[in-house]
């Protein structure tokens, strides 16, 4: 057992469901007890999704438990096949139901007999892998399934497209800024004259998967999702892939150069150097920001970076290499891939921390006292307590990381957004500190006197206690309203009864 206050990566079934529900017209059946289907809430609320989440829980309750699940699960698959006519139904247990050790593979085969949809059991071990690993695996599994199926039918599209083309692999629902990154990557590919063959899994149809091999190469922007698929496609289908995350000016250039190398190796004749230089120096504002006075003033300031592998590595490199900021500690919660992390960031930071224990990271931050943190929502809250500003750069996701406005982290517009994030994080901190230093010379009272004006009325202890329970942001108003009520009626003392009577009277006014 592990004492855990917070966790960074979710359970395995979340990863599977992210993949399944990213595809178009794929339905997932969760074999799970009541309440385990909160994935639907997350997708609906965090992404402000307009459509019903294509995930149905086949509820395991005490009765089902007693009789075995087979009938119910098979019924629910067959029913969903009729109701929604999906192309594919993915069955997944959760940590809980996986312990039942039922023969789900058999359920799937049974259900397949009565379904037009394809039916697949997600192949993950719910106690050995987390959300990220499970997502990576499920994507590979689905791609593999459909390529093998097409291979049997002999309709895999293996001929390359006439012009250079790419599959972007790893764009998924409930991914950190995935939508915006995807738009920016499509723009980047367009600028490079590369056609986007497929984007996976987001909004892709499983019918299109047989066309994967027609792209010239695969691009895997996130290390956490898509790498298994890309490796499979390289081994089985001879497709080269690029797994350099195009985040930051330097790494974006490196990614583009790697693409150039692959394309030219396949017989194209492209030269992106001029494009890179033009973007770097004149289109993106990030290189100029690095050189400008604003960034000069950040030189040597201390920062802590923490997040998933992709974002923590990229931010560490950007801060240290592009902005001259001193990264005291860089860390990730992707323990399963920690060696890679260490290898990537070691030369750019003083210390590496690989841990998924929120308390350990919080303690490290408290000791280091950096000028800014770049981390997850957890670190943002740690920062809030310590009065250290934090830019959020990585999942775990939070509604604030699903902005409506365009905010990619990748590509050249991404470099601009990151420059803003870095600048604002540090200056917000400076502003707060300046206010703290000079606060005493200022006349806070002048502004707040409208609120705190003394009253002529007495509050008895109980009423005062009750008033103090009222949230601060409305307390002033409740107090004034109550006193007005009391004054109008000639009460001299405000008791609990008066307080409640006032509430009733006031709310009736509207």
């Amino acid at each position: 057992m592990k004492l855990a206050y917070w966790m960074y990566a979710g359970p395995a079934h979340i990863g599977t469901l992210r993949i399944a529900s990213s595809f178009k017209n794929v339905h997932a059946i969760m074999h799970a007890p009541l309440g385990d289907d909160y994935f639907n809430v997350m997708r609906s609320m965090l992404e402000r999704e307009r459509d019903f989440t294509p995930v149905t829980a086949s509820v395991v309750d005490r009765n089902v438990l007693a009789r075995g699940s087979q009938e119910k699960v098979v019924d629910n698959i067959v029913r969903k096949d009729k109701e929604e006519k999906p192309d594919l139904i993915v069955l997944t247990p959760t940590c809980t139901s996986s312990i039942l050790q039922e023969d789900l593979e058999n359920f799937v085969q049974r259900a397949q007999l009565n379904s037009n949809s394809d039916v697949l059991l997600a192949d993950v071990n719910h106690y050995r892998v987390n959300e990220l690993q499970a997502g990576d695996r499920t994507l590979e599994q689905i791609i593999q399934f459909y390529l093998q199926k097409a291979q049997k039918k002999g309709d895999v599209v293996t001929e390359k497209t006439p012009h250079p083309s790419v599959n972007i692999i790893g764009i998924s629902t409930l991914g950190f800024h995935n939508n915006h990154d995807c738009t920016e990557l499509q723009r980047l590919m367009r600028d490079l004259g590369i056609e986007v063959n497929l984007i996976l899994p987001d909004s892709a149809s499983v019918h299109d998967l047989k066309k994967i091999p027609s792209a010239w190469f695969n691009l895997v922007p996130y290390r956490e999702l898509g790498l298994m698929s890309a490796r499979y496609l390289e081994e089985e289908w001879g497709m080269p892939y690029v797994d350099i995350t195009p985040m930051g000016v330097v790494e974006t250039a490196r990614c583009v150069r790697k693409i150039q190398q692959i394309l030219n190796g396949l017989g194209a004749n492209v030269d992106y150097e001029e494009f890179i230089e033009h973007q770097t120096l004149y289109v993106s504002q990030a290189a100029w920001f690095s050189r400008s006075i604003d960034c000069q003033n950040l030189t040597g300031k201390k920062a802590v970076v923490f997040g998933d592998n992709t974002h923590a590595v990229a931010m560490t490199k950007i801060l240290a290499r592009e902005m001259g900021i001193h990264v005291v500690l860089a860390g990730t919660y992707c323990k399963y891939d920690g060696d890679w992390f260490t290898q990537q960031v070691s030369e750019y930071c003083d210390r590496v921390l690989i841990s998924d224990d929120n308390g350990e990271i919080a303690d490290a931050i408290a000791k280091i006292e950096p000028a800014a943190i770049f981390g997850t929502q957890m670190e943002r809250h740690v920062g809030k307590r310590l009065n250290i500003p934090c830019g959020v750069i990585s999942a775990p996701i939070h509604i604030q990381n699903f902005p409506i406005g365009y905010k990619p982290f990748m590509g050249y517009e991404g470099t601009n957004q990151i420059a803003d994030l870095v600048y604002n994080s540090f200056t917000l901190g400076m502003e707060d500190h300046l206010l703290e230093i000079f606060g005493g010379h200022d006349t806070k009272e002048v502004i707040t006197k409208g609120i705190s004006a003394d009253s002529d009325l007495n509050w008895d202890t109980e009423a005062q206690k009750e008033l103090n329970k009222v949230p601060g942001f409305v307390r002033g108003k409740v107090k004034r309203n109550t006193e007005k009520f009391a004054r109008d009626r000639g009460f001299e003392k405000i008791t609990l009864e008066v307080l409640y009577a006032a509430k009733e009277a006031v709310s009736s006014v509207g």
Binding site: M1, K2, L3, A4, Y5, W6, M7, G10, P11, A12, H13, I14, P33, L34, G35, D36, D37, Y38, V41, M42, S44, M45, E49, R50, D51, F52, T53, T56, A57, S58, V59, V60, D61, R62, L65, N76, E83, T94, C95, T96, I99, L100, H126, Y127, R128, A362, M378, H381, V382, P396, H398, E466, V470, L496, E497, Y500, E504, S507, S508, G510
Partner: protein, 469 residues
Amino acid sequence: MTFTPEKTATPELNFECETGNYHTFCPISCVAWLYQKIEDSFFLVIGTKTCGYFLQNAMGVMIFAEPRYAMAELEEGDISAQLNDYNELKRLCDQIKRDRNPSVIVWIGTCTTEIIKMDLEGIAPQLEQEIGIPIVVARANGLDYAFTQGEDTVLAAMANRCPKEAEVKQIEDKQERNAIQKLLNFGKKQEETVHNEYHEHPPLVLFGSLPDPVVTNLTLELKKQGVKIDGWLPAKRYTELPIIDEGYYVAGVNPFLSRTATTLMRRRKCKLIGAPFPIGPDGTRAWIEKICSVLGVEPQGLEEREAKIWENLQDYVDLIKGKSVFFMGDNLLEISLARFLIRCGMTVPEIGIPYMDKRYQKAELEFLAQTCQEMGVSLPTIVEKPDNYNQLQRIKKIQPDLVITGMAHANPLEARGISTKWSVEFTFAQIHGFTNARDILELVTRPLRRNNNLKDLGWSKLVKEEATL
């Protein structure tokens, strides 16, 4: 809008049980409010990553860096029984004791502990001896319970820990009872002696976790009738659990506490006052009247009080009168809310509800039927364990003015032009008693007021083709 407590012939309610696939929150949710209510507690949820991820995401409490609850996350070794449960739990509880030193640790069992048959009830007594902190065990699992019933499992378990009169007396005689508690109770005792406006009646304990201001509010309402509340289950601190003894009267404030009620009756030999719940001015009046009648107290001025409250609600009532509301079913407050909204003039085609204890909710159900009759509207169909997919088909057909639903369906329904309100908000808002009736309507009318604001913009359908809703 007067309420006649005498029974008249009311029509029969129509119950169905779909036993469908429906969405609601996991019962371990109750941790989110119970840890805040019981200030000296620590809640330890013994379950998987799935449970932990639910708590941090669905409950929107990520803002607290280190709350007074945590997961005992079961790992592969725990599941395969390679590790010793007792030792593992001891290690974790030792750490909790060291870091936080709570007055009680509540173990929340989950589906997983059920399935692997972890003997929490067996382990707890030995461990609490060893670490010197009471351990309360509640099986708030999703195999047996839905959402708010999690609180029921905790309160039922705590009911067993309430002291009996004899025990307290014994301890007090020995001058050993918690000094802090004495201090805390000091004001209260003084008050009792000073205002002796209470009638003589047998002890009354209320059960159900309510925010402190609501506790005060209901306490005052009963005090106005000369009825004294001898305690609340739960109290603000575990060390202040009320004395509960044979013959005490008990009354619940929430419809999802049937197990707690049963425990109090069977194990503690209490007498349950079965009443509608104090939600809405109609329900609050009925609840007070029932308590008074059982305790032999003549209620004073309740009719006028109810009328006054209704008067204050008029502006909101005008907004919803004649409109229809569909309950998909989530938090077991559905019957009480529907009854109040029907009294406000709404119609209710369907009330979905995860679980229906017809005995514990008897008075409320009768009151619902009676309200429908008095308001001249047809009776809602009550669908236990509804099937959400089927419900969506019915909603598409009926096109209700408002759907009260869990969080998973709200946005998609809104995108299809159906107004919604999250059922979970009624779980967290202060809805009990006379005064708070307005807050219920504030919530209920919000989507309707929003629609009034946006009405001319033509933004009601925001999906391109109507999918198979």
